[in-house]
């Protein structure tokens, strides 16, 4: 599925409640390649759009575990495995000294890892999106925009426009980036 779609139908809403109501109806409609572009995250929109909770936390768990094991094995190799030395009479396996670095490594991989995964997921785990430089939507300013991509199997320009207008959207229009009518 291509990341960006150049053709689709847009419709504007002006308050989050309208957007939520519309989302519920679009979810129940026959269209699947649809999305809502909003200036800020709206509470409850996932259920309204029929999505499950984000899977990112699971990835974070694995990343955290990876961070811990990486740190512990590396420190063990350095302090005991490779060249154990006598630092101030302490035993080589001075495990209290390993805790801080392990914790930091866990936070490092978990936090930054999940941020990167989230950004990538935002690009991959989605439907073809209107490219922001090609299709102006105003969704980052003040509009709550509904978007139905032409890549949807049941897409028909007039039928979709009619359906979006029936949702109560304003400024419903069919956009085609290649044709230039943006």
């Amino acid at each position: 599925m291509p990341r960006h779609s150049t053709k689709g139908v847009l419709g504007d809403f002006y308050t989050p409640d309208e957007a939520l109501a519309a989302a519920a109806r679009v979810r129940d409609s026959q269209y699947t390649h649809f999305d809502f572009l909003t200036p800020f995250p709206i509470h409850g929109m996932e259920e309204a759009m029929g999505q499950k909770r984000s899977w990112i936390p699971i990835v974070t768990g694995f990343l955290a575990f990876f961070g811990i094991t990486l740190a512990q094995t590396f420190i063990y190799y350095v302090m005991i495995g490779d060249w154990p030395m006598n630092f101030g009479g302490k035993p080589n396996f001075a495990w209290p000294s390993f805790i801080p670095v392990t914790f930091e490594s866990m936070v490092f991989y978990a936090a930054i890892g999940s941020a990167i995964v989230a950004i990538i997921a935002g690009k991959r785990d989605t439907i073809p999106q209107p490219h922001p430089m090609k299709i102006k939507t105003g969704a980052t300013i003040d509009r709550f925009v509904v978007w139905i991509s032409a890549t949807d199997p049941k897409f028909d320009a007039t039928e979709v426009q009619r359906f979006v207008t029936s949702l109560g959207a304003d400024g419903v229009r069919y956009v085609d980036a290649e044709a230039g009518n943006v």
Binding site: M85, N86, F87, G88, G89, K90, P91
Partner: protein, 1065 residues
């Protein structure tokens, strides 16, 4: 050229051709060619720093990491006997009457250590240890100069020119010549002087600032021309000192003997030392009982003791003598007790102890104490007491006789009189610096001006040489031949350790050459003839030093009784050079009885009307009379008691100090006898309330870049009275002069409360007899949660016996020479950045019973009026659980298998956390580039003190003092005592070479501090070896390892400092 290349691969010192007066320079085919590292570009460290600082990844990749190209330059022709490069050679020799063994590497001396086999048991003085810096001093004059009495800048000239001028002068004014030299003890040397005098009709004048004039005069009055027996403090069970300063000034056997009897377990019982003195001297600090008196009252107290012992006790042959009785009558204890301010029962107690000890007692007067108005009376009273107690023959060794010291003021005064009268035309100054250290009233400068020709043989353009016509620099004693004699008919040959660095010539060589040219016959002519190369080219080139020939001829004739050319002489000569001494058979001698006529001198012992404030001038501990004022090591060696470096001070008693509203460093003006000096003041504990003490010797204006302007000239304060220089008991006025000058003090707080902080084991003899572990109690440490991982076979450890340690600081100097420790200069010390790896902490013992407030520790009055002084050499303790190793993130310091705390200089990046975490604060940091030059003009303008490191450590030939076995550290690197790991590794390598596979015998590894310690207080070895001496000391009940409650487990055991309180006073 990186420092280590110079030291490690260098073949020998740079050698310059020099003309030898009177002989054509011998072709040096096989000279030790200067080692050159061809690589003129960036050395390794600068290369790394430049690239990483730019740190552009690509730049780094492009430049690549090429190591600089260095060369390895072998010898051209190896002289026989020079085994190799890389192995040290040892020479036994003598300097200023102190025997030593010098370690040399590739032909240059790098360390001066004591010669333990020398029968005179003379310890090293700090000036001998630091002589290396005088040898390599960049401010030494490098070739003869025409000074023209200071008019216009001195012009370079040649030896030939100077010799012609001098010889013409000698011939012209035959009997109007004077030779001013330092007192020489060597038999052949004095013979050479006499021969020079006979050849040129010259008068030999010996001068040194600090000579016991009073003692010599009193001895002559008491015993005629008898030679002076050697005091043996190790035989004395009681020593009474009257201003005694055998630890401060005299470099003789008393220092080591005194320490022998300080062992509480000594078979003949622990010695007891009672000291009467005004200033807290290093000697007084080691006393069991110290009584503060004015210097002017010392003669009276001596007579009082004599009266009590002889008249009341009826002790000794003179008890019934009427003259003695009359002379002593006015000094009965009850009559003088109020005048001298000492309680009568104390004086009676001391007298009683003297009578009880009998022949086992000894009474000593100090060299400086004799330089007072009543000096003769004091010395006579002391001779009287010793004679009566029967000390001569018991605590004075009659077999070990010494010639009476020469070089007093009388000879110099006569010379100045002759000069003023115009009876002297040619004056040759060889060594002394009377313009600086003679009394001002003598007006030496004006007298010198009257001579027609003045030639100086000193090593630099010092105060005296500036008034000369010519300066023909004599070599440093390390570069020339001479000899020295010691009490007990022991003689040592002063052999050169290296070829002269500059165009200089040995003192004896010059005198013999000039004498020969001036027409001397006999032995001098033979000596000079021997230096000319024989006709036959095949014959080996002769030694070009006439002094060498002279000494051999003289020793052969007078000592060995054989001819020079015989093999027996060669064997005896080589054996003397190897051992460092030769003992001539001495005839048994007896001492004539005490000449009762001398008691007339006791008359002027009467305590004069005490002036308000008495001035006490004493020689600076390290500089004596300022002869090595350009020596960085000596300036940076803290004074044992005031801990002041780089400068002098006026010490004022704490009560008077506080009354005058002073703070340490406030300037005080002292006026005495017409002269006045302004000095920074120092609150000195233990000083008599009405005495102020000032060190002599500093304040030189012509010493060199490092020494000029350090301290103020204080010699003018010492007046000339009755043919003697008076230095103590002078009346003076002191006044606050406003303004202050920060003193460069190396120690923080001086007061140690041993109940609160058990950091130093100290106890009295009675306590130790009751409980051997007395004094070592400390707060216990809890159990360790870590499994023990200390080594099982080999663990290096050290034991320091604080009873034997007298706080002299020679361990500090020995360590500084061995381990290339840089000098940081006065500003460095003021900023708290001195670099010594071992320091001797000096505490005032301050039990809490003395009710003072503990938050501010600047020495509360109750503690410092009459302090108990505690000395503690403090160095890296090589702890088993070293807190410094845990916190170093760069793996730069960790523990070795044999118990050493390793500090790896090339891995250290300088976070300084290890120094912060060390409870003993013994780690030192290279704050600036001390051992390498920093030359960028822009940053030198921004940070002027950048240049100090170069001036003190890198200029000229100074880097030649570096020990090639120890890394010379760059800035930004932490350094600390390594237990002389280079000597441990050398011992392991020797064991491997001899196939002993790492069994190192006890005593085979001697660290530099242990080697330099005159009293044997430091012992080092493998503590896990049951037979090792260090193990025995570590297990002794007196041993204590510090800070047990911290659980760091240090490897150094300190043995209790015991004070002998078993007496009536």
């Amino acid at each position: 050229m990186s420092r280590n290349d110079l030291t490690r691969d260098a073949v020998a010192h740079p050698h310059t051709h020099r003309e030898v007066p009177g002989t054509d320079p011998a072709p040096d085919a096989g000279s030790l060619e200067a080692a050159v590292t061809a690589d003129r570009g960036l050395n390794r460290r600068d290369f790394l720093r430049v690239t990483t600082t730019i740190a552009a990844g690509s730049a780094l990749a492009a430049a690549g990491c090429q190591q600089p190209v260095e060369t390895l330059v072998p010898l051209n022709q190896r002289p026989e006997g020079m085994r190799s490069v890389g192995r040290p050679l040892f020479y036994a020799s003598v300097l200023d009457g102190v025997p030593f063994i010098a370690r040399t590497r590739e032909g240059r001396p790098i360390l001066v250590a004591p010669n333990p086999a020398h029968p005179s048991r003379t310890p090293l003085t700090v000036r001998t240890q630091a002589a290396l810096l005088d040898l390599y001093d960049p401010d030494r004059v490098q070739q003869p100069l025409s000074v023209r009495r200071g008019t216009g800048s001195p012009a370079k000239t040649t030896w030939a020119a100077v010799s012609d001028e001098v010889v013409r002068g000698l011939k012209a004014s035959r009997d109007r010549v004077a030779l001013l030299v330092r007192p020489a003890t060597g038999a052949a040397t004095r013979a050479a002087y006499d021969e020079f005098a006979r050849a040129t009709g010259a008068r030999i004048v010996e001068w040194e600032a600090f000579q016991p004039d009073a003692a010599v005069e009193a001895w002559r009055q008491a015993f005629g021309d008898a030679r002076i027996p050697t005091p043996r403090l190790d035989r004395a069970s009681l020593v009474v000192g009257l201003g005694a300063d055998f630890l401060d000034i005299a470099g003789d056997r008393r220092e080591a003997d005194f320490a022998d009897r300080r062992d509480p377990g000594h078979p003949d019982g622990m010695g007891r030392f009672i000291a009467f003195e005004s200033r807290l001297t290093l000697t007084g600090a080691n006393a069991d009982r110290r009584i503060r008196v004015r210097d002017s009252h010392l003669p009276a107290i001596a007579c009082a003791l004599a009266h009590q012992v002889i008249q009341e006790g009826g002790v000794g042959p003179l008890a019934s003598d009427l003259d003695v009785a009359d002379a002593l009558k006015p000094f009965a204890i009850d009559t003088i007790t109020t005048a001298v301010g000492v309680p009568a029962d104390v004086l009676r107690g001391v007298a009683a102890e003297l009578r009880a000890a009998g022949p086992k007692a000894i009474v000593l007067a100090g060299l400086n104490a004799g330089a007072s108005a009543g000096g003769l009376a004091l010395e006579t009273a002391v001779h009287l007491l010793n004679a009566s107690l029967g000390a001569y023959g018991s605590t004075f060794d009659l077999d070990a006789w010494g010639a009476p010291p020469t070089g007093g003021l009388k000879a110099l005064a006569d010379l100045v009189a002759d000069l003023d009268a115009g009876r002297i035309d040619v004056l040759i100054v060889a060594g002394p610096n009377p313009v600086h250290d003679a009394p001002a009233s003598l007006k030496v400068a004006e007298a010198f001006a009257k001579a027609r020709l003045v030639v100086s043989l000193n090593d630099r353009l010092d105060e005296t040489s500036r008034l000369a016509d010519w300066l023909a620099p004599a070599s440093h004693p390390f570069e020339a031949w001479a000899d020295a004699s010691f009490p007990g008919d022991v003689h040592t040959i002063q052999q050169p350790l290296l070829r002269p660095l500059y165009a200089t010539w040995g003192l004896l060589d010059v005198l013999l050459a000039w004498a020969a040219q001036a027409g001397a016959g006999g032995d001098i002519a033979d000596a000079m003839a021997a230096t000319r190369p024989a006709v036959d080219p095949k014959a080996p080139a002769p030694n070009t030093s006439p002094a060498w020939h002279w000494i051999r001829a003289w020793w052969a004739r007078n000592f060995f009784g054989t001819d020079v050319a015989t093999p027996e002489f060669e064997d005896a000569w080589d054996e003397t050079l190897r051992a460092g001494f030769w003992t001539s058979p001495s005839s048994a001698r007896s001492l004539p009885s005490f000449n009762t006529g001398a008691v007339s001198l006791l008359a002027d012992a009467a305590p004069a009307a005490a002036s308000l404030v008495e001035l006490h001038l004493h020689p600076h501990f390290a500089h004596l009379d300022g002869r090595s004022a350009n020596n960085g090591w000596l300036h940076e060696l803290p004074d044992p008691l005031t801990r002041i470096t780089w400068g002098d001070w006026i010490a004022i008693a704490p009560r008077r100090f506080d009354a005058m509203g002073l703070k340490n460093g406030d300037l005080v003006k002292v006026t005495s006898g017409g002269a006045s000096v302004t000095l920074p003041s120092y609150r000195h504990a233990g000083l008599h309330a009405d005495v102020v003490a000032i060190p002599l010797g500093l304040g030189r204006t012509a010493a060199g870049l490092a020494g000029n302007g350090i301290g103020r000239a204080t010699f003018p304060l010492a007046p000339l009275v009755g043919g003697r220089v008076l230095r103590v008991g002078l009346s003076c006025e002191i006044a606050k002069a406003g303004g202050s000058e920060e003193l460069a003090i190396t120690q923080g707080s001086e007061v140690l409360d041993r109940e609160a902080r058990q950091l130093l084991p100290a106890a009295t003899l009675k306590e130790v007899r009751a409980d051997p572990q007395a004094g070592t109690e400390q707060e216990g440490g809890g159990p360790s949660i870590w499994p023990d991982r200390s080594p099982d076979k080999q663990r290096w450890a050290m034991a320091i016996d604080l009873s034997k340690c007298n706080g002299c600081g020679k361990c500090t100097l020995g360590c500084q020479a061995e381990n290339n420790i840089p000098v940081v200069g006065p500003r460095g010390v003021r900023e708290g950045r001195e670099m010594a790896w071992i320091r001797v902490d000096r505490y005032w013992d301050a039990g809490r019973d003395k009710d003072w407030d503990d938050t501010v520790w600047d020495g509360p009055l109750a503690v410092v009026e009459e302090p108990r002084t505690l000395f503690q050499p403090m160095l890296c303790q090589h702890c088993e659980n070293a807190p410094c190793e845990t916190v170093c993130p760069f793996v730069a310091t960790m523990h070795s298998e044999d118990g050493l705390n390793q500090q790896v200089y090339n891995r250290c990046v300088g976070t300084r956390y290890c120094s912060n975490n060390c409870p003993f604060k013994v780690r030192r940091y290279n704050w600036l580039e001390y051992s390498y030059g920093k030359t960028n003009p822009f940053f030198r303008m921004l940070v002027p003190k950048l240049a100090m490191g170069e001036i003190l450590n890198v200029r000229g030939r100074l880097p030649m003092k570096n020990n090639p076995e120890v890394t010379v550290r760059h800035r930004g690197v932490m350094e600390k005592c390594s237990f002389c790991v280079q000597r441990i590794r050398e011992a392991r390598a020797t064991a491997t070479r001899e196939g002993r596979k790492l069994q190192i015998h006890d005593g085979e590894v001697v660290p530099a501090c242990m080697e330099a310690c005159p009293t044997g207080a430091i012992t080092f070895g493998n503590v896990l070896d049951p037979e090792a001496r260090v193990r025995r000391l570590a297990d002794s009940p007196r041993a204590m390892r510090l800070l047990r409650n911290l659980g760091v487990k240090p490897s150094i055991s300190y043995l209790t400092r015991v004070r002998n309180d078993d007496g009536q006073v």
